[in-house]
Symmetry: C2
Subunit: 247 residues, 2 copies
Amino acid sequence: MSYCVGIRLKSGMVLASDTRTNAGVDHISTFKKMFTFGAEGERVIFLLTAGNLATSQAVVNRLRRELRQDDRQHLGNIPSLSEAAEMVGRYATEVAYQTKQMATMVQEGGGFGSTFLLGGQIKGHGMRLYLIYNEGNSIYATRDTPFFQIGESKYGKPILDRAINYESNLDDAVRATLVSFDSTIRSNLSVGFPIDLMVYKADSLTLPAGRRITETDPYFYSIRSQWSQGLLAILRGFDTPPPDYMG
Amino acid sequence: MSYCVGIRLKSGMVLASDTRTNAGVDHISTFKKMFTFGAEGERVIFLLTAGNLATSQAVVNRLRRELRQDDRQHLGNIPSLSEAAEMVGRYATEVAYQTKQMATMVQEGGGFGSTFLLGGQIKGHGMRLYLIYNEGNSIYATRDTPFFQIGESKYGKPILDRAINYESNLDDAVRATLVSFDSTIRSNLSVGFPIDLMVYKADSLTLPAGRRITETDPYFYSIRSQWSQGLLAILRGFDTPPPDYMG
């Protein structure tokens, strides 16, 4: 599994992914699941992926190769992020379908699908964040639904539900995202460090450098330990359960 | 979906289930998912269930009917909880298999399986807690793994991971269980109030009265709001993310 979060706020976007990928217990490796495309001052596109790594990488490679083909539409010239989301969805479905066709010649079953988060901004447009499904279709974030998760999303959802709304600032969104990853990594072995983090400021049209956060990163460590101690302190601060709860 | 938690501590057991069951959006109803069997001073058996409600209810009905049949083994006279877990697993598999056989005459597919938590104590034995799978086999809680969850388990797992160990006291286990339900109910529409709660004190061999907790229960409400405010206070208390996190 993987875990990725994308948050689109009024003030900008926060995107984060883990880097673990596994194909059985013997095959735990670290791969990048976050990719950026863009041109300073003109467009910034983030792509995050979960699911079948071979499918995801084939899609990303195709998107990158096409950047050099000026006679066709690609992420470097596509006029809108909605069309970009359609393109990624189409490629993902094609790759997964082809792989499945090949696989069924050899064996039954197989999960070849990938999901994607695609977000960013193109000059003259607002910021957009899309969740692209396995089947190639997609939905986009709204004021009411400011964040999406893909991959192993449930462990880390409660804190995002509580802490994030469209008016949240980027600092708070980063803090909540790190806590969301901490909860997920603690509860599920298939999600692991390092974490790739990108923060994009609304209308900056600048590709952020991004930050790779390792397990020993001092800021992450301080958040992790404050969170853990804080939670236990809240629990201990609760009143004793009433007698009729206890028997 | 459903959500059930069973915790076996040195000092006793905590068992809790939600009561929502749904078969499509039009069919959200409240059903009891926790059942008790036993005889004061001799045996106490708790059974919690998630999955296909028809299968779960058929299993419980069979277990109850058999209590009147003195010439055979049933939950009222079975010598150990390990044999009880095997019996429940066997019945569940039989019911699911029969239902599937019937269903395939009409249509393809269908999820007829149920999972169970079975816990309690029989005089002369220690407390036991079993997780019985869909396939009829089971595992039991140990000192290292003091709790099990069935149903919609991921949202509420991080807090149990952090707060519960074998030496925890029953009060703390109840508090963590309530927070685990709160997180799950907030994040997933298919898990809902009221919550059924049972707390069993080790070696008491007494069937607890149990407590049904509604959404407006004052103690649950106080926990819910303290938790929510406390979490946001911890988040706000974190240092500002370093500059290289933010661009």
